[in-house]
């Protein structure tokens, strides 16, 4: 759907608003009505004093499924998983004070990864605001830097407008989370409800259409390129499945290699020969070297994150850079580009294809053949290789087996944050967008389990796997109870190395092997823990038993906690050390790579 068409449509109807579209109801009823009018079917939430009127209205409502989580952070991550796997906004309902503050991590996560969320928070009654009332906090103040926009709805007659604007702002332009804070007295009061077709924001007009002159220039630069590369990101996913289709078409036309950020995995099929794998700190040798040596870089919906670029001064020094982004503030933020294009990925890709065809452009075939030859040489380094073992389960082996045994199914993967996340990103091959849900920007441990809850709610028949670590999953473990309550057969595949593995890896590489507080001396028995939740616990200790246990996990129609005991000392390679360049990677089994500089240690 073209987003700004809905805006224009809204403008037309707003001028002649029929009386029937404006109805009297309470603020709480307006919330339910607005959610329905916005096409919402699922809410993730947790009740409390300041949202009781809304929960009362919800009690009588039909067609809205409420998922009761165990912690508000879980609600927000579940909504993120729901949103990322469906393309629809995730909706959260929590109470004031601690309900709102517990949501802050999820809000920041969604802001960093551009996930559309509408988070409704209860607030103390307006006459108590500012008095340090029970469960009062300055929700709009606290959430201002971690939302795309937020509102305190002080007037019931403004509430429906605010709610509809909230959906519009969350879902259009660069998507993001929004918060609507609703005092309890406003929920009780009666006022005029306006339908979404009557609401048009005063100032908010995201730019979606690219400047065509710039697209023409981009296409000309691409046609002349000797060593081109597509560097794609989460913007392709957020733009909708059409953008992924168009990306494939553009690669068909040009034959250029493709790499992607962590957030963009699945936009381009991992099975295609043009796929170089993920780039960045734990990206492949071929992807990072191609980025370093390319002469034309076409960045589509990515933002030159520090995890992608390595040392900025050494980032792809010889290339001409084209940057397509829907958010003008991302352009020239850290890396200076030669041709910026502000626009939606779908529309920009469509125009790129149109002008490529109309101009009868051809890629420079001879140069491209040389480029592919060079890439082929980099590929022979086989940078994702690891030392196999017949006695202990290597985490890479576990991911590989998990992929092989699930690849023919409709599978959605969420992750926690750390080594397991990088191994999953490197090794699990995604063919379609919206199948990969991970916390990229904020790096939130505890994201994956509740995100899996949200994904499974949206896709009840799909196989939903959270690839986790034993440290991360304990941060939001209580949501297993939610999974039980709603019969969500999510599979929590824990690569249990007893360490905060990425912390341990950095301590090994940067801090002289002093493993300060990165080892969990007391871990729960995950199998018994699963039983306590009423779900299924499985454990694998030996490589030989892994396949059968994974099959058992898939076949069980219940939530599963899978305790996969892996080699505790394994490191995640390749790795660009902090402060190093793309062509200065540390590879597995080549330990005499560049040492991390003193300046690099200061970086995170």
């Amino acid at each position: 759907m073209d987003k700004d068409d809905t805006l224009q449509g809204a403008a037309l109807t707003a001028e002649a608003a029929p009386e029937s579209m404006i109805q009297a109801m309470t603020g709480a009823e307006m919330v339910i009505r607005a959610l329905k009018d916005q096409g919402v079917t699922h809410i993730f939430g947790y009740p409390g004093g300041a949202v009781l009127p809304i929960y009362d209205a919800l009690f009588k409502a039909e067609g809205l499924v409420h998922v009761l989580v165990r912690h508000e952070q879980g609600a927000v991550h579940a909504a993120e998983g729901y949103a990322r796997s469906t393309g629809k906004p995730g909706v959260v309902l929590v109470t004031s004070g601690p309900g709102a503050t517990n949501a802050v991590t999820g809000l920041t996560d969604a802001l960093m990864d551009s996930i559309p969320l509408v988070v409704l928070t209860g607030q103390v009654p307006t006459h108590l605001i500012g008095t340090d009332a029970f469960q009062e906090c300055d929700t709009v103040g606290i959430t201002r830097p971690c939302t795309k926009h937020n509102w305190l709805a002080r007037d019931v007659n403004e509430l429906s407008r605010i709610l509809h604007e909230a959906f519009q702002i969350a879902t259009t332009g660069r998507p993001g989370p929004v918060v609507v804070d609703i005092p309890k007295d406003v929920q009780f009061q009666t006022g005029a409800y306006h339908g979404p077709e009557l609401v048009r924001h005063r100032t908010y007009r995201p730019r979606l259409d690219p400047d065509l002159g710039s697209v023409v220039r981009a296409v000309e630069m691409m046609a002349k390129a000797q060593r081109p590369i597509f560097y794609t990101g989460g913007g392709i996913i957020n733009s909708g499945p059409e953008a992924s289709k168009l990306l494939r078409e553009l690669v068909d036309l040009t034959g250029f290699p493709v790499t992607s950020t962590l957030m963009g995995l699945g936009a381009f099929p991992a099975s295609r020969p043009e796929w170089l794998g993920m780039l960045g700190m734990h990206g492949t040798f071929e992807a990072n070297n191609a980025m370093h040596d390319c002469d034309v870089m076409i960045c589509l919906g990515a933002r030159f994150d520090d995890r992608v670029t390595g040392r900025i001064s050494a980032f792809s020094p010889g290339s001409t850079k084209i940057h397509v982004d829907i958010d003008a503030s991302q352009i020239n933020k850290t890396v200076r580009v030669d041709l910026p294009i502000v626009g939606d990925a779908t529309r920009t890709l469509r125009e790129m294809i149109r002008f490529w065809k109309a101009g009868r452009h051809q890629a420079d075939k001879a140069a491209l053949a040389d480029w592919w030859k060079q890439i082929g040489q980099w590929r022979t380094r086989n940078s994702l290789a690891y030392r196999p073992s017949g006695t202990v389960i290597k985490p890479q082996y576990a991911i590989d087996r998990l992929y092989e045994l699930t690849k023919d199914r409709e599978v959605y993967v969420t992750t926690e944050v750390g080594q397991h996340q990088m191994w999953a990103a490197q090794r699990f091959k995604f063919e379609e967008p919206n199948r990969w849900m991970t916390s990229g920007g904020l790096g939130t441990m505890g994201y994956g389990l509740p995100a899996a809850v949200g994904v499974q709610m949206a896709h009840p028949d799909a196989l939903v796997i959270d690839i986790g670590g034993e440290a991360s999953v304990q941060m939001t473990m209580q949501e297993m109870s939610t999974a039980m309550q709603y019969d969500l057969p999510i599979k929590i595949f824990i690569l249990n190395n007893e360490y905060m593995g990425m912390v341990r890896q950095w301590q090994e590489l940067l801090h002289g092997g002093r493993y300060s507080h990165s080892y969990s001396e007391a871990l729960p028995d995950f199998v018994k823990l699963a039983e306590a939740f009423g779900c299924v616990g499985l454990r694998a200790d030996k490589p030989q038993e892994l396949d059968d246990k994974i099959r058992e996990m898939i076949d069980v129609k219940k939530p599963v906690l899978f305790d996969c005991r892996v080699d505790p000392a394994e490191n995640c390679f390749p790795m660009i050390p902090s402060g190093a360049a793309h062509n200065e990677m540390i590879l597995a089994e080549i330990d005499d790579g560049p040492a991390i500089s003193e300046a690099g240690k200061m970086l995170v």
Binding site: V140, G141, R144, P145, K148, H149, L152, R154, I169, H201, R202, T203, Y204, D211, D327, A328, S329, I331, N332, K333, R336, L339, P340, V342
Partner: protein, 175 residues
């Protein structure tokens, strides 16, 4: 359209920006929070509602940074949902910048006479007078006010209140 090429420079420049925003609750906090959260400087900031009917406020900010930082500040301000538009008076538009200051000088005898003489030369107006003090009102560009204050310092300067910069374009057009 986004400005494509900003010259690469490490030189810190001072820029005056004006942001026209919806005058809704917390709008100033959004702008100020953006500056503090991203580590940008605010040298002065002026805000007032300019159109009660349209509920718009005009915020004028004097900031400093490299050209790249200034470009980011403009883009980040433009991205706020409440923003109507952003104008950079230093880089792009021909604008007039003015600031008002109230300057209190205490003293007697020669210094007092000299202060009054200087104030007259700067077209600063005494708005409060006692036997031992003046409060001068002075309007002008920030540099003029700076030099007036420097001249007052040895003459018994005791207090300064500055409004921060207000800016508007030359010619018949609106911002």
């Amino acid at each position: 359209m986004h400005d494509t090429k900003v010259k690469l420079s490490d030189v810190v420049e001072r820029h005056t920006l004006t942001v026209l925003v919806d005058n809704e609750a917390g709008v100033l906090a959004r702008v100020v929070g953006l500056f503090s959260g991203r580590g940008y400087n605010i040298e002065s900031l002026t805000v007032a509602e300019v159109d009660p009917m349209a509920r718009t406020s005009r915020i004028t900010i004097v900031t400093s940074g490299t050209p790249q930082v200034i470009e980011q500040i403009e883009a980040q301000l433009g991205r706020l949902v409440v923003t109507h538009n952003v104008t950079n008076w230093t880089a792009a538009e021909a604008g007039i910048e003015r600031e008002m200051a109230l300057v209190k000088v205490a003293g007697t005898g020669e210094k007092r006479v000299e202060a009054l003489r200087m104030a007259d030369a700067f077209r600063a107006r005494p708005v409060d007078t006692t036997h031992t003090s003046f409060v001068f009102e002075i309007t002008g560009n920030p540099a003029k006010i700076d030099s007036f204050i420097e001249l007052m310092r040895p003459l018994g300067l005791v207090d300064i209140s500055r409004t921060g910069v207000a800016a508007i374009s030359r010619g018949p057009e609106a911002m």
